[in-house]
């Protein structure tokens, strides 16, 4: 009896005392003029006081881009041409979302835990109110996943996290060239038997820098000056080309 109690308390403490120590190859992604995507290496270790439990450890990593509302439209044939008919508002969908797991997704995290922590791609998209006249609202969020997966914005990498001796883990996430600025919440879940035993959250910051930053800020803060500058550049380029060809013709 005492032995059993001891065992239970040991398991309980070991569950609570497993902690993630994370390292990132970079926690800043700078969007420069020749930015064409970035690969971020996520690596870490599991810190624990108690001996390693029997049950194998799984790691689930989710990196999410800034979330925002969307309108998804569906085309239908009307009068012989394809036109947008139904539209569904998606309340929040991340611009980027990558999930990497150390085992097949359903083994690494149970459905209940996925529901609670919103880890899988379909759960990362929040859609509350679809219009009453749209019957298959589900098809619209599925379409968002299909289109964005094809663009490389949504990624699911099963068995992509390497775990060594239940303690060290690492994976890399490839971020596409078409990144949106903002904070990218990065979550790491340690799971046993599909149950989350520990979780850790950090931020990857994606920012435009240099010329990109300056132009973007100018276009938002001083739109009239930005517009006039665009026109001036256009006219100067037109004049320069004309003058250059004039010289070429004379020679």
């Amino acid at each position: 009896m005492r032995f059993l109690a001891l065992c239970l308390s040991l398991i309980a403490t070991s569950l609570a005392s497993e902690e993630v120590v994370l390292g990132l190859s970079q926690d800043q992604v700078a969007i420069t003029t020749n930015f064409d995507g970035s690969e971020i290496l996520l690596f870490g270790a599991v810190k624990r006081e108690a001996p390693i439990p029997e049950e194998p450890l799984d790691v689930v990593i989710a990196v999410s881009g800034p979330s925002g509302p969307l309108t998804v439209r569906r085309k239908e044939r009307k009068f012989g041409i394809w036109v947008n008919t139904d539209a569904v508002e998606i309340d929040a969908a991340p611009s980027f979302y990558a999930v990497a797991t150390s085992a097949p997704f359903t083994e690494a995290i149970s459905n209940v835990e996925d529901q609670r922590h919103k880890v899988s791609i379909p759960r990362a998209i929040r859609s509350v109110g679809a219009p009453m006249d749209v019957e298959d609202a589900q098809a619209f969020s599925e379409a968002v996943i299909r289109i964005r997966t094809a663009e490389g914005a949504y990624q699911l990498h099963e068995n992509a996290v390497q775990v060594d001796q239940q303690t060290l883990f690492r994976t890399s996430i490839k971020m596409p060239a078409n990144l949106t600025e903002g904070d990218y919440p990065t979550r790491i879940f340690l799971t046993r038997n599909g149950q989350v035993v520990s979780q850790f959250e950090t931020m990857i910051n994606v920012n435009k820098v240099g010329l990109e930053r300056w132009l973007f800020d100018l276009s938002r803060n001083q739109p009239l000056i930005y517009g006039l500058m665009s026109l001036a550049i256009a006219i100067a380029a037109g004049w320069l080309a004309s003058a250059a060809f004039q010289v070429l013709r004379r020679n």
């Binding site: 020749n34 998804v72 085309k75 078409n178 009239l224």
Partner: protein, 311 residues
Amino acid sequence: MALSKIMQIYLPIAEVSVNAFLLLGLGGMVGILSGMFGVGGGFLMTPLLFFIGIPPAVAVATEANQIVASSFSGVLAHLKRKTVDLKMGTVLLTGGLIGAALGVVVFNYLKSQGQVDLLVRLCYVVFLGVIGSLMFVESLNAIRKSRNNAAPAKRKKHNWVHGLPLKMRFRVSGLYISVIPPVMVGILVGILSAIMGVGGGFIMVPAMIYLLGMPTKVVVGTSLFQIIFVTGFTTLLHATTNYTVDIALAVLLLVGGVIGAQIGTRLGTYLKAEQLRILLALLVMLVCGKLALDLLIEPSELFSIGAAGGH
């Protein structure tokens, strides 16, 4: 690998990464057409930009800025050859600016009704189709006539246009007509250019030839002259209200574009007016056909993602 990394450029407003040489090439190609035919090339470039993944709102606004550059380059070449009717251009422009302002109102109304996308496409198909086939038939007839009796076909005939009041003399065009038709043409083109995101040269050019009876030689330069101001106005409107003018994209397109326009203007002088018109007609019908097919054939992806509240 290293080279492809250098060619890749991230556009600050569009927020996409594209190949710089691809943009230069596109700009150059469309620039040649613009110089040859006196069209801004927007009706070609805007769909091409959609195709390479630039967000539509950015494509439309930036294209307006690029047209300013290629038109300015083209108009300078035409000014040297004295083939710009500044007086007629100013009259057309007056109408154009009124039309552009009206067009923005119409555009916002359509947007609130939804389906603006479809309406823009239908506008393209109808206008390109009608103008393309009219020009094609007319140019064929002109070529046939000039072959039969060697004398160039005369297009200066009196129609209802010449019976209107407020007459004005347009020396460069050799016309003495009322200002009402050119102002009306300007307004119409202004409305369409605001809705369709183009300079409107492909409508302006035929309208000047067939409706106003202007000589083909003057038409191209005058059209370019007018387009500069209308698209410049549009650029400013987009930059201040929608923040969708991407200057990096515009610079790449216009470097290719202005060089292309210079080449195009010179190529144009080697061709006869009828040949020039028949080529433009074919081009217009080609774009029209492509857009019509897109509407008729079942798309591979029935769903599309748009910004929230955009319907």
